[in-house]
Symmetry: C2
Subunit: 363 residues, 2 copies
């Protein structure tokens, strides 16, 4: 059982504790004198590509690699400087990002950039949240006990439900960036939940593919992958982990439920248990993937069905976990082809990636 406690930080942001062990020390008051960050997030649509781009100039000043004694994601211990979490302990905690890319509370406007008539702009309204996986700054997601991963899933489900219900939100995107190699500014184990006021280019493409496909695209992908077998990493009662047949990254894995589910809210308790155990094994394998690399840098992102009820049926939830690491000392850079044209070149093959996953799976 997870106990949920809500409170408010000094500047009005929401904080939500998800406790799977008894805590009697919840501190609901934030003692800090915290200056309000005025979000100035704006979004503009590129007339050439049709993509929305978000501008968050207030993020220029965000916290960057603070010393350990200023870890803003640690619990606030008696006699120490207050952190973002007023309580002296927590299991899993979620709070609104102090430097959000998308934020609420801006004044409404909807106009064209310089009256261009070509580049619409408006406030980038949605919410960005931080999810602390554990109060121990030394752990990684894979080090959490399965029961704690289960609590993280509970938190994801809670937030997906709450954020999807906001009229501004079109898509909820829980993800984790891990590793200084990809620019992570805080080493404390945590993920983020972005919500977008539009469908991301990836989600738009998935919806279009799914709608254009006769039948259940996701079910057929799973069935075909099982039939082929060469890219399957692991199968459990409720989930399958595999390397996509057109993987873009030097390390990539996908996790998909064996039966349709739009997002975390539609997973049964048994499915959540099953997923928690599978994620622990998968993330462990990621850290065994490269010889001599104890912490593989990675990005893990959950593709969840759009909030729009008419589109929900088009997308089955799936995790995309990938790394830019090519070998123990070399990273893949997103250079001209990837960054400028969005054409990915992969120097390995999905089958090799899967073979390596299977090699280290039970190591």
């Amino acid at each position: 059982m997870v106990e949920i406690t809500k409170a408010t930080l000094a500047d009005g942001r929401e904080i939500i504790y998800f406790d799977d062990t008894p805590h009697t020390d919840r501190v609901l008051e934030d003692s800090r004198d915290l200056p309000q960050v005025t979000p100035a997030s704006e979004m503009r649509r590129d007339p050439l590509t049709g993509d929305w781009v978000a501008f968050a100039a207030h993020r220029m000043n965000r916290t960057f690699m603070p010393p350990a004694n200023e870890n803003p994601l640690a619990p606030t211990l008696p006699g120490q400087l207050p952190t973002e979490i007023p309580s002296p302990s927590y299991d899993v905690v979620v709070f609104e990002n102090r430097f959000p890319s998308f934020a609420m509370g801006m004044e409404d406007y909807e106009e064209d950039v310089d009256e261009m008539g070509l580049v619409p702009r408006k406030p980038a309204k949605a919410r960005c949240e931080v999810v602390c996986f554990t109060s121990d700054p030394e752990l990684s997601f894979k080090d959490l006990p399965v029961s704690r991963i289960r609590t993280v899933i509970e938190a994801w489900a809670h937030r997906t439900s709450a954020l999807s219900a906001l009229p501004e939100v079109a898509q909820v995107f829980p993800f984790e960036n891990r590793g200084a190699e990809i620019g992570v500014t805080l080493q404390h184990p945590h993920g983020q939940i972005y919500s977008y006021p539009f469908l991301s280019p990836r989600m738009q493409a998935i919806v279009a593919s799914s709608q254009a496909y006769e039948g259940d695209l996701f079910q057929d992908i799973l069935d075909k992958e099982r039939e082929a077998g060469t890219r399957i990493i692991a199968e459990t009662e409720h989930f399958t982990a595999f390397v996509p047949a057109a993987a873009k990254w030097p390390l990539e894995a996908m996790v998909m439920p064996n039966e349709y589910a739009a997002d975390f809210t539609e997973l049964s308790s048994a499915q959540r248990d099953d997923l928690a155990a599978l994620l622990k094994k998968l993330y462990t394998a990621v850290d065994r993937f490269f010889d001599g690399v104890e912490k593989t840098p990675y990005i893990a992102g959950w593709n969840l069905a759009p909030a729009d009820p008419t589109l929900r049926g088009d997308v089955r939830m799936h995790l995309q976990l990938f790394s830019l690491m090519r070998s123990p000392n070399r990273m893949k850079y997103l250079a001209g082809s990837e960054s400028a044209q969005a054409v990915w070149i992969n120097d390995t093959t999905p089958e090799r990636i899967a073979a390596r996953f299977k090699e280290v799976w039970d190591a």
Copy 2:
């Protein structure tokens, strides 16, 4: 006048010299005993996004930051180890990449990955070329005299014409990656020309936007940008340099001809002269952009109209030049939102970028 000389390297690859000064020392024989690289490039279509991904496993072993005396892009001087360029001098030289992402010469096949019926795969047929801007390894593009930049444009035009004529090629993409910060493996000043057997996701989006627009999208963007003025960097007789109103990167500039041109082959001699002078100023400003940074890492990519004659009219050529540098000591990382969902968050604004360009333009 540019004199064009073609020759063949030891492993059969084509090399083409573009000389704007007299050379009497062209060496047309490559003395090396060069083992043939068997290209194994394959492309597969992602069933979820519809994007083609290229697999080039043979690239895993490509040359990585060789010591200066093994610079493969230097001319071959008497008594020294032979390089990729057999001649002892050159002005601008183009040759086929030894480790290409897209290559010709693979056996034809067109089938499904593991008979999935969902993931088509076939050889990734097209050509990838290297363009050496100068024989001096210490220079950058911006250091070239305008007359030499003019020769580079001549080379781009020549190669665009030749590559577009290949039946396998759908799009030609000349670009330069500059800086170790973005993974450049050879410091010698050079660019690349990729050709793609499909339209890149960016080009597909541009074609779709252009077709859906009533009127001339590119002309209207230019007109509106001039009217607004706030993002214009420089205007010349034939070209305009500006910061796109929805710029994705912390430093970004676009250069577009004032009148329609599909690609370099359609530029008059006067337009090429004008462009060469403008590029020298623009690239110089890029290296003045960040205080204390002498070599700003950047990606410069030319969006050229598709090879398909029925689509050429939809796209006006334009340069996209951008940097992942946010400030002298900080890079932008493409983390979860950008890499996993293709949603860009920019921590500055296009207007600030343009103001900075104008500040350093005549410095």
